[in-house]
């Protein structure tokens, strides 16, 4: 997958065009698919996910072609935008409703531009149907750049550290307080540090399996054999039983638990893989 981001898909701050406008392509429909769309399928997901929403995607399309935000060529931009939306839907990516809303807005603006303007001599200016969109794009871009600028500032602990000289208080033996929020913060920094941690996503379900794994290990710890049924508290419901069963399988798979049965229909026993291998 490396190298994908080299195909012009780095999503850094857009380079603002300065000086001479290059973008006099208005009115000329862009018939070919934007070349951006020739992307290996597995890379598409990564690229699409790196947009922060429909405004971000639109800005990308506009800035990439050095177009003027105040004079967006609606036909080609709309078709490019739709191509992305189609690609997302084709890949069955979960598409935020905002993307579809924007698609509808683009089409609406495009159709309003096609309508003949009623001749109204009395009014000096006619509202451009694109004006509101342009205002939103510019405002979003301004904040996007501000976010990047903030990220560039030296940040406490990330880029510099505070001093921590020891001040011994009156022989206090107070222990640090920890809240669940602190745990969450700790996990965030683990995630941020190692790319591979993306493979370590833990869901609540898995968590309860892990919880049961610990519980079962405690039950069998120091005991020779525990009857299989003793590990199941029937009254706790089906989902608990399933989780508990998966936990046992997981422990067996990890070589932490042994499950044995002398013959069919005889009781099943469970013991820790740690206790002596000699059956009693």
């Amino acid at each position: 997958m490396s190298g994908v981001s080299d195909d012009g898909f780095t999503l850094e701050a857009p380079v603002l065009p300065d000086g001479v406008p290059l973008a006099h392509v208005f009115g000329e429909p862009v018939l070919a698919l934007p070349q951006d769309l020739f992307i290996p399928p597995d890379a598409l997901k990564v690229i699409l996910e790196s947009f922060e929403g429909p405004l971000d995607l639109l800005l990308y399309l506009i800035r990439k072609q050095n177009l003027n935000v105040l004079d967006i060529p609606m036909a080609p931009i709309t078709s490019q935008y739709m191509a992305y939306i189609d690609a997302m839907q084709h890949e069955r990516l979960e598409l935020a409703a905002e993307y579809l809303l924007m698609a509808a807005l683009l089409i609406e603006i495009k159709s309003r531009l096609l309508l003949p303007r009623p001749p109204r001599e009395d009014e000096a200016e006619v509202e451009d149907p694109r004006a509101e969109l342009a205002r939103r794009l510019l405002e979003y871009e301004q904040m996007k750049l501000a976010g990047l600028a903030l990220d560039q500032l030296p940040q406490a602990e990330r880029d510099f550290v505070w001093l921590a000289v020891l001040l011994e208080q009156t022989a206090e033996t107070r222990l640090p307080d920890v809240t669940p929020v602190d745990l969450r913060q700790a996990w965030l920094s683990i995630l941020s540090r190692a790319a591979r941690n993306r493979h370590h996503q833990v869901t609540t379900d898995q968590l309860s399996v892990r919880e049961q794994m610990s519980w079962i290990l405690r039950q069998v710890d120091g005991r020779d054999y525990v009857p299989f049924e003793a590990l199941f508290e029937i009254e706790r419901g089906v989902s608990y039983l399933v989780v508990n069963f998966i936990a046992i399988l997981e422990l067996v798979k990890e070589g932490l638990l042994r499950v044995s049965q002398e013959a069919a229909y005889l009781p099943i026993y469970v013991r820790s893989a740690n206790t002596a291998t000699e059956p009693a």
Partner: protein
């Protein structure tokens, strides 16, 4: 023993307080170090001297939004990082854009943030900033639902080494983001 009578000791006390403090200390707080009344000017002068004395070393005394604090100079970070691989996370664009909107447009509601970004703001994003104590709810907007109004905190300024919101990086002007020269002729904007 009078403090003002021994300028070296006076500075030593101030310096030690700052070296051991786990938060920035304001001049008002530093005054409390001494049993007798000390003029703010005397403290400010001493702080300037301490700051100068540390020039060129690995640590610098900086003036932040909520007071004075010692910190390691950024040049030292590569060394210290070898010792301490644990660091706070680098936040995603969603988090940083949300922070920027709160910083520059405060006070704002979640709805305001969403309308600028054009997407729903996930709870996790706001929560991350709240947990870092960079933003806080400072009130509620008197509209249906009474949504919370977010603003940045002093800790946000301190952690980014800023004295005030005025020190934030200047915003790109909306006008400057526009490709010049292709306005319609009848544009009434600025001739």
């Amino acid at each position: 023993m009078s403090m003002t009578g021994d300028p070296t000791h006076f500075k030593t006390v101030l310096e030690t307080a700052l070296l051991t403090a786990s938060e920035p200390l304001s001049v008002g707080q530093l005054k409390k170090l001494f049993a007798e009344e000390v003029a703010a000017a005397a403290i400010n002068d001493a702080l300037d001297e301490i700051q100068r004395a540390w020039l060129g070393r690995g640590v610098e005394l900086v003036r932040l939004s909520s007071g004075w604090r010692f910190r390691a100079r950024t040049e030292l970070t590569p060394y210290l990082a070898r010792l301490n691989p644990e660091k706070p996370p680098r936040y995603s664009r969603a988090v940083m854009e949300t922070l920027a909107i709160i910083a520059y447009k405060q006070p704002v509601t979640r709805g305001d943030i969403e309308s600028i970004r054009g997407v729903t703001v996930s709870t996790g994003v706001v929560q991350t900033l709240l947990e870092r104590a960079w933003i806080e709810v400072i009130g509620h907007k008197e509209v249906p639902g009474r949504p919370g109004l977010y603003a940045t905190t002093r800790k946000f300024l301190d952690d980014l080494g800023l004295n005030s919101l005025g020190d934030l990086p200047p915003l790109a002007e909306l006008g400057a983001l526009v490709v010049p020269g292709i306005e319609p002729d009848d544009s009434p904007l600025d001739s």
